[in-house]
Amino acid sequence: MAIETTTDNAVKAAPTPGPSQRSALPWLIARRALTGLVTLWCVSVIVFVATQAMPGDVAHIILGPSASAEQVAQLNQNLGLDQPLLSQYWNWLSSVLTGDMGDSLVSGQPVSELLAERIFNSATLTAIAMVLILPLSLLVGLLAAVFRDRLLDRSYLGTSLIVTATPDFVIGSLVIALFGTVVFKVLPPVSLIPPGDVPWEHPRQLVMPLAVMVLVGVTYLSRLVRVSFIDVLESEYVQLAIIKGLPMRRILFRHALPNALAPSIPAASIMAAFTIAGSVVIEYLFAYPGIGSALVDAVAGHDLPMIQAIIMLMAVAFFCFNQLADVLGTLNKSR
């Protein structure tokens, strides 16, 4: 898929240069935390406005067109929709901040309870994917840089161009067709994890979603690794080391690797952020019981508190990873 917008720009252009650049690190972090809080507050307003303050009757959207007037009134009262908007917002925000996200309209259970397992499942999948993506990207990027402009590098660049442009659901469908149903029937085409089980008890179910995530992630990250490796390999001190006749392996691993690694670390964080958005498509495709597929279900069931909770969670996580990337990028630059 397209690891979207801004990724590259965020790495390059993220740290807003200002008077603070040379000031102490704690101050920098404090300033970031402050702007971060303001941003997150804006996010909460957007989510609230989009869900509760929309023109039109939320209760009608939830109950459908055939609902009676009493039902609508009842639901409005239950959700607090009959109160003025500001107090609705205040109630909503204060309960979200205390971790109380309300009850699901579909099952009646607390949202936090319903989401706990889903979050765990998604986090597990993402964590395993990241553990695979990081070393693989390094290896692929390094090989491509070392064999720059040769056949290996060219075919790598061609492949990555195609993978970058292809939506996740297309890659996923092809992977399912290849390994799940049509060509080789070696893997289960859906990744259902029974409730109560931890995902790693079903390794076969995880292979295909992981394969898609790793393919997409490695494609993105290894390109950045390749570029920074090429930069380092062209630098004077590596050229000098080559002239001095140091063995290539020593040059690559002792001299080039640490320097090429630095720019890739913020990128890895950005990638984690985009995995969160991508998880919606991948989890839905493989019917994996994570937070992304929970969102699709919640929307289908007009489950307002679930939608609010999941989108807030995703936005916060996405934001945190992006901030982390920015901070890491700034640290790199100032070094």
Partner: protein, 291 residues
């Protein structure tokens, strides 16, 4: 008045020149041909469809044969007709969203770079907030409440493209602001709009061209993915993204009903990426490092 001013050295080449330069690359040409080919295919396709894309004319997942070149889909509709009719929404929505996002983002980026100071800071803060939402999540948020109207989807994807675009264009325009012709125009007091349109915009056409290719790819990816999730074009209408999710349960019996629409989406987006990356490479080679 503008015309009498001497052209100073280093002034940007006119866009026609840029187009020609960019098209010297085989990769860019291939990308452009793929893009135009897919656009043409989606527009002409509906007229070539042998059957109605929504008519049930065979058994579910019927095999190819009996006048059905590729067989039938999960409901027994002709796959060929659905593929031929299933791209036109993606095309117009993708192009409209790209146009909207690119215009809005460029405007914000240029104004921020031009105005500087508090306006710049404020605009970039707004951009930061928008960046907090991945496009697809924001689209789901609003679609879940308002319903999947096509205009709404176009607007949402356009808004999703805007912040990244604004950042890139601001970055590209900032050095331009210090160039002589812009300072000259500011000194003699030309209206800001005039300066932005005639002096600044022509100097940032190179990144603009690359970004248009990339944004087109992203909006098609986004729209197709939303369609796949069931938040885009609604059944029974034919749409490539939707076809993939409709027929994925029948993958073992009728793989072509999934693979061909998926491949169509991919051809479209790969064309966009080929063009964008090829253009970026040519521009990087001829103008020095981008940005």
């Amino acid at each position: 008045m503008i015309r009498t001013r001497p052209r100073e050295q280093g002034a940007q080449a006119p866009p026609s020149n840029l187009t020609r330069r960019v098209l010297t690359s085989r990769q860019t040409r291939l990308g452009l041909i793929m893009l135009l080919g897919m656009i043409l295919f989606t527009i002409v396709g509906p007229f070539l469809a042998p059957h109605s894309p929504t008519a049930v004319i065979a058994k579910p997942y019927a095999s190819p044969g009996d006048g059905l070149l590729l067989g039938a889909d999960s409901l027994g509709r002709d796959i060929v007709s659905r593929i031929l009719s299933g791209g036109v929404n993606l095309t117009w929505m993708g192009i409209a969203a790209t146009a909207g996002g690119v215009t809005l983002g460029t405007t914000i980026g240029l104004v921020a770079a031009f105005a500087g100071g508090i306006v710049d800071t404020l605009l970039m803060r707004v951009v930061d907030v928008l960046l907090t939402f991945p496009t697809i999540i924001m689209a789901i948020l609003f679609v879940s409440m308002v319903g999947p109207s096509r205009i709404l989807l176009v607007i949402l994807v356009a808004i999703g493209l805007t912040p990244g675009m604004a950042r890139v264009m601001r970055g590209a325009a900032r050095p331009v602001m210090r160039r002589e012709h812009v300072m000259w125009a500011r000194t003699i007091g030309l209206p800001s709009r005039h300066i932005l349109m005639r002096e600044v915009l022509p100097s940032v056409t190179s990144p603009l061209m690359v970004e248009i290719g990339l944004r087109l790819m992203w909006s098609v990816v986004g729209l197709a993915s939303l369609s796949f999730l069931g938040f885009g074009v609604q059944p029974p209408a034919a749409d490539w993204g939707l076809m993939v999710s409709e027929n994925k349960d029948g993958l073992a019996i009728q793989p072509l009903a999934v693979i061909i629409p998926a491949a169509c989406v991919a051809l479209f987006t790969i064309g966009g990426n080929l063009f964008a990356e090829g253009a970026a490479r040519v521009i990087g080679r001829t103008e020095g490092a981008r940005s």
